[in-house]
């Protein structure tokens, strides 16, 4: 049950209830379909009636998603969804507000709104569909594309070192950070559930295949399940087809993948998403396919922190307690007044 809602009685909805009457218009084979399905399947778990849920998106292929959800929705402008959603969530704490965005939408034009909504800990669930490319505009590189990427706008290879979406989110004081794969129904559903339960900003990176402009970008973990490092709080971080690998921490605080030797799980890093200090989550975010040949999935960080929306509501209450409900007449007559006789 999400804490975003007030849980007004039992609601028995199914995935079908969350399908809108609009035809889904992504390219056949696009990873967005898988995400949409999981999301529609997950929605009933929120335990909210549909009118209490709002999807806000920017612009991009991913950003079309709200049209397909039988909830309230806004397909807004490029990069601005977190700002718009902030106004909505802050003024309507009774709603469950979700932001759907792409790697370009969230990290290129919208980077500033994203990091500010994270530091404020606004009660938003932010789903970033990372396909490492600009899909809608036909295949230019994005801020998550790897250095040297050849695309329409970089015929000789891109020059910009990419962002690591999780590192930047953690650097921006995010209270909840997670990662999942489009086609990994179980993993994605779990992460969505954790995000929904977290009060405050929840940032979820979803690795998504764009089969038209960047096909196979995540095959190393989408197809090769042995490269998935599922993080579980309280457990030593272990993975591989036979659980033959693990993650340890170096003296300098960085984390890296090792082959399990004789010692078994001894010395493996024990995950703790609830740790207040973000250094562990940050170190884990640095484990990538490029550095370690494997990718952590699941919840990296989930800590409680005062929620912007709540704090604001509290100030309003306090102010009313102190001064009473504002009265217009009194306000207009405040300060010195004088009378002109007729």
């Amino acid at each position: 049950m999400s804490e975003g809602g007030n849980g007004n009685g039992l609601v028995q909805l199914t995935a079908k209830d969350f399908k809108s009457d609009q035809e889904v218009r992504w390219c056949p084979g696009c990873g967005d379909y898988a995400i949409l399905n999981v999301l529609q399947g997950f929605m009933p778990e929120l335990g909210l009636t549909r009118e209490r849920i709002v999807f806000v998106s920017g612009i991009g292929c991913a950003a079309r998603l709200p049209y397909y959800m039988q909830t309230y929705g806004m397909h807004s402008i490029h990069g601005r969804a977190p700002a718009i959603a902030t106004g909505l969530a802050v003024s309507r704490p009774d709603l469950s507000v979700w932001v759907v965005t792409g790697d370009g939408d969230a990290l290129s034009i919208g980077g500033n709104h994203l990091i500010h909504s994270l530091r404020r800990n606004v009660n938003l669930k932010i789903l970033l569909f990372n396909n490492k490319i600009y899909g809608l505009t036909k295949g230019q590189y994005s801020p998550t594309s790897e250095l040297g990427k050849v695309t329409k706008s970089t015929p000789m290879g891109s020059l910009d070192y990419p962002f690591n979406p999780l590192s930047i989110a953690i650097g921006a004081e995010a209270s909840f950070v997670a990662r999942a794969i489009d086609t990994d129904k179980k993993g994605l559903t779990e992460v969505l559930g954790a995000a929904a339960r977290h009060r405050g900003s929840a940032f979820v990176e979803i690795l998504q295949n764009c089969n038209i402009y960047n096909d196979g970008a995540f095959d190393f973990v989408r197809e090769e399940k042995g490269n998935r490092i599922y993080l579980e709080s309280g457990a030593p971080i272990r993975f591989g087809a036979e659980g033959e690998k693990g993650v340890v921490q170096d003296v300098d605080g960085s984390a890296r993948v090792v082959d399990l030797g004789e010692g078994g799980e001894d010395g493996l890093l024990v995950h703790d998403a609830g740790q207040r200090e973000p250094s562990l989550a940050f170190a884990l975010s640095r484990i990538t396919f490029e550095t370690d040949g494997a990718v952590p999935l699941g919840v990296f960080r989930s800590v409680e922190r005062p929620v912007y929306d709540d704090l604001m509501s509290e100030q309003l209450e306090t102010a009313r307690e102190r001064s009473g409900e504002g009265d217009l007449e009194t306000l207009l007559h405040s300060g010195d007044t004088w009378t002109v006789e007729s």
């Binding site: 609009q22 807004s76 959603a85 106004g87 500033n112 604001m312 309003l316 102190r322 002109v340």
Partner: protein, 603 residues
């Protein structure tokens, strides 16, 4: 009218003299009233020790040194106490906070500090650490003690006032050279203090011009003094109450709009949510998001910030959601002159968005008028489901005037109805319009059965589904335009003040209202005939505007820009209106306007 007041030892007479000279050089008419204490040197900090110097200066003939100063510079609590009573309501007080020690307060007979206890709430108070800033500025001057340095604070104050009123400073610099030439370290100290004061004015963005012209005769009733930004704040609060919608303000600080944010932040007991955003884009976005959720969404800024909101306003136009966008105009282009007024954002708010993106525009004309303008902007936004621009400027914002406090029960009802859950079997059409207003339903999240999606892509008429159909696009472009144009039927006609049947019309908008009125009085006093009219709605125009402008032989349009409204009037009504345009970052002088009108009337 300014009064400098301080302890006898504070050099107020010297300061006043210098300011007077600068002012004379500047070309203003003036009159002065020095006012020393009886004792040569009363005890420091005491009430009798206060020395004052009043300068009345203006751009027109002055007959007296004035009764009520508008600005009081108080170097210590005693000076404040002695002089405050004379100060006009809404006047400006500049105090030297460093002198407000417990001891000095006591000497002046204050139980609590007037700076903290709210007793100055009717005035614009600028609390400035005159002494310590002076000492700091003089740190590197060799040969003077910090006690001596402190003595230069009158020059700091003079520098600040000279900046505020744009006085030429060469005279004072020369004067210091001559007068203190024999003690170069003192000359150096005074020069530095003077410049530091000037620079402080410039850097702190804490000062701006003040509104001068108040209506001549006052109607009976209860009054208070109010500045434009306060009136605007109150108007927004009133709009929230009158509409029954909670107010959500998204704003990013910027001169001269910041204090609307700051004042609204003090109104949380009215259910006001203020969100200081990361930038103007987010500020407007959040306000729009709140409007989607059923709040009265407001965003406030000045020109350099408004330009960043254009994209969001464009989205609001196509989403057809209410949004109030307040532009407290200042001199530009780009960063320009942050504290100075200008009326040059009109065409930006009209046209500064991609494609056909019509937005109603309301403009305030007086400080107190900001109250009504805010309610009116909200009324239109709510009723027509549209963003609305509300134009003020630095002159209105910081200026103040007596305000006949309105009767709350007489304020308009601007409430609206949200769309409600459809009856069984009914399909909800988010873009089906009200036949009269052409407004679409405002269906807020939380309403069962109205789940729908809206966005920035073109929408099919009625259903709101994405549509690339050519004829539908043409239809929607025209519907959006017709909705805004139709507001003309719902606003008052343009009023003309034409007592004598003139053939020349002076047509204005915004903060030139006072100057035009004063100028017209002068012109009429000279036996000439002139009509005046003032536009409070710039888009759409009042329905009789064409009739009015066409019924005069000559139309003069004074604007603090290069002729923006003039262009709109000429294009729409094909009248050969001529402009009177000075873009100096300050209000018109009644005298120059009167000259311009006279010249046209006589031509």
């Amino acid at each position: 009218m300014i009064r400098f007041a301080g302890d006898s030892g504070d050099g107020m007479q010297l300061t006043g003299d210098r300011f007077t000279s600068e002012t004379a050089v500047f070309g203003n008419d003036l009159a002065t009233l020095p006012d020393f204490p009886a004792e040569i040197r009363a005890p420091a900090g005491s009430l009798p020790g206060v020395s004052g110097f009043q300068v009345h200066f203006a751009d027109h003939d002055i007959l007296t040194p004035g009764d009520q100063p508008n600005v009081l510079v108080a170097m210590n609590p005693a000076a404040l106490k002695v002089n405050l009573g004379d100060l006009a309501k809404g006047g400006t007080v500049i105090v030297n906070t460093d002198a407000f020690s417990d001891r000095n307060l006591q000497k002046a007979g204050y139980a609590t500090s007037p700076l903290d206890d709210g007793s100055l709430s009717d005035f614009h108070v600028h609390a400035v650490s005159l002494s310590s800033m002076t000492i700091e500025a003089l740190k590197e001057v060799d040969g003077i003690t910090s006690r001596e340095a402190e003595r230069s604070k009158n020059f700091f104050a003079l520098g600040l006032m000279s900046w505020l009123y744009n006085r030429p400073i060469e005279g004072t610099l020369g004067f210091i050279e001559t007068k203190f030439g024999k003690r170069p370290e003192i000359a150096e100290a005074n020069t530095r203090a003077f410049k530091a004061g000037w620079n402080y004015g410039e850097t702190s963005e804490d000062f701006a011009v003040s509104y001068e012209i108040a209506p001549a005769k006052l109607e009976p009733g209860r009054y208070r003094q109010i500045s434009g930004n306060s009136a605007l704040t109150y108007g927004l609060i009133a709009a929230s109450k009158l509409s029954g919608l909670p107010l959500f303000l998204g704003a990013y600080p910027i001169t001269p709009a910041s204090d609307v944010l700051e004042q609204l932040a003090n109104m949380k007991h009215f259910g006001v949510r203020t969100f200081q955003a990361e930038d103007e884009i987010a500020a407007s976005g959040a306000a729009l998001g709140a409007a989607f959720g059923g709040s009265l969404g407001v965003t406030t800024s000045a020109g350099p910030g408004i330009v960043l909101k254009s994209e969001t306003v464009g989205l609001a136009v196509t989403l057809e959601l209410p949004l109030i966008v307040v532009d407290v105009q200042r001199a530009g282009p780009s960063t320009g002159m942050p504290t100075k007024p200008e009326q040059a954002d009109l065409l930006m708010v009209m046209f500064g968005r991609n494609s056909e993106s019509p937005v109603p525009v309301v403009a305030a004309s007086t400080p107190a008028g900001c109250f009504d303008a805010a309610i009116e902007a909200a009324r239109i936004a709510i009723k027509y489901r549209t963003p609305v621009f509300l134009l003020s400027d630095a002159y209105l914002a910081n200026g103040s005037e007596p305000w006949l406090i309105p009767d709350v029960s007489a304020l308009p009802d601007i409430s609206t109805e949200f769309a409600t859950s459809p009856k069984d079997g009914d399909v909800f059409l988010p873009y089906k319009r009200d036949a009269e207003t052409l407004a679409r339903p405002w269906a807020i999240p939380g309403t069962p059965g109205l789940e729908h999606r809206i966005g920035g892509l073109e929408k099919e008429d009625k259903t709101g589904n994405i549509s690339y159909d050519p004829e539908n696009h043409d239809l929607m472009v025209r519907l959006r335009a017709a909705k805004v144009a139709g507001i003309a039927a719902d606003i008052p006609e343009l009023e003309v003040d034409d007592p004598d049947g003139a053939n020349t019309l002076v047509l204005g908008w915004g903060s030139t209202y006072g100057a035009i009125g004063a100028a017209a009085r002068r012109v009429r006093a000279s036996g000439r005939k002139v009509a005046t009219a003032h536009l409070h709605y710039l888009n759409p125009f009042p329905r009789n505007t064409g009739e009015v402008v066409r019924s005069y032989e000559k139309v003069l349009m004074p604007e603090i820009n290069l002729g923006q409204l003039k262009m709109l009037i000429r294009a729409e009504f094909l009248v050969d209106a001529v402009g009177y345009n000075k873009v100096r970052g300050r209000p018109f002088r009644a005298a120059e306007l009167a000259d311009a009108i006279t010249a046209l009337v006589d031509s």
